[in-house]
Symmetry: D2
Subunit: 126 residues, 4 copies
Amino acid sequence: MQHEIEVEIRYYETDGQGIVHHANYFKYFELARVKMLESVGLDYAELERQGILLVVHSISCRYLLPARFGDTLRIVTRIDRATAARLDHSYLVYCGDLLLAEGKSTIAHIDASGEVQRMPECLLNH
Amino acid sequence: MQHEIEVEIRYYETDGQGIVHHANYFKYFELARVKMLESVGLDYAELERQGILLVVHSISCRYLLPARFGDTLRIVTRIDRATAARLDHSYLVYCGDLLLAEGKSTIAHIDASGEVQRMPECLLNH
Amino acid sequence: MQHEIEVEIRYYETDGQGIVHHANYFKYFELARVKMLESVGLDYAELERQGILLVVHSISCRYLLPARFGDTLRIVTRIDRATAARLDHSYLVYCGDLLLAEGKSTIAHIDASGEVQRMPECLLNH
Amino acid sequence: MQHEIEVEIRYYETDGQGIVHHANYFKYFELARVKMLESVGLDYAELERQGILLVVHSISCRYLLPARFGDTLRIVTRIDRATAARLDHSYLVYCGDLLLAEGKSTIAHIDASGEVQRMPECLLNH
């Protein structure tokens, strides 16, 4: 399973070095996950209303080249592993053909009280 | 009633022009209001747990001089008007003796369902 | 001159009340201005490389109804006044037919040293 | 070398789940690094003016327990490795005695043109 989105960099996402602040990549990854769910008919807002809360258990990013305002990023997201306990995603961030960054994350499913739950079937099979 | 806080600019608050992004002043104003409540013994986290939600009804800022990473801002907050329906604050943002920006806001009190409520006494008298 | 964009709310733009944090509307307004420039063939990244820096002189927003994750906002931006010294924009933020918020801003043109400059013709006539 | 800061959670740092958004931990880590430099007499704003730009090469975080508005975090930062090419930091984020999160990062030194440079002595020995 692989999904791709385009993200145009917003001005406020750059920092004093004139490049996208490194913490913003994690916001792009979140957007990529939400859009990947959407692409298989799952609406994360609706999942939350049903009490299915997804939380990030761990996340990382390696930065190879900077991104600047005016760039359009292409983010390729893949599910590397899906078990009852967690979903592992990986992310490749491109500008044109250049790989700017690569990331990984592990997501868990909790209920409203914060208890870890079995990953819902709808999420395992997307 | 007047209250003063110091805010050290964080690197990620600057943008591609090397100055604090204008939207961040509204985050400083929020911090200033929370700290002003704290100064009279009110804990906003605790207020929210009691169902007292404060929302911004309107807010504005005028920018005179830019702020940069490394600057420490001094924010002077005043309550200009307190009625059963709303609280009006004004903010002066200084770096040293220089006035960098000035803002105004109107805050209302809603309950969990979003209905506007009478401002609690504890907020009217601070 | 009027221009319209759609903005899908990103999860991280919501706050502890489950609604879009009020400071984020100013980021949407910035995006709306950049996209309005784009619609008339002006690339803000390119303008900055030419030394044309636009800065916010003043900005305000009035909030009528909350926006939530899952909502798609429609932002209608208009230039109310364009003079050699400044551009005045106004913004209407809709979700469906509901007006959620309305804003206003005044933008000035500075050079790299921070001096206010005459607004470039290309910006006056868009 | 170890350094500790306290960070009070700001309201806008929480998200729709009522907890601190995971991307914000990377902003706390940045603040922790800047304050660690300050503790040995180094001013990052001044370093940048001298053309010493520090960039994040890679960064990660593992989340154990959520943080909420009203919490004060204690962040313990350590330099794990300092070589001519890079600085490795690790971070422990506590609320009271509870470990909420732990992170790691690798920082490199570039010049204004983006070329990786030898880490300055002042940074190697702090």
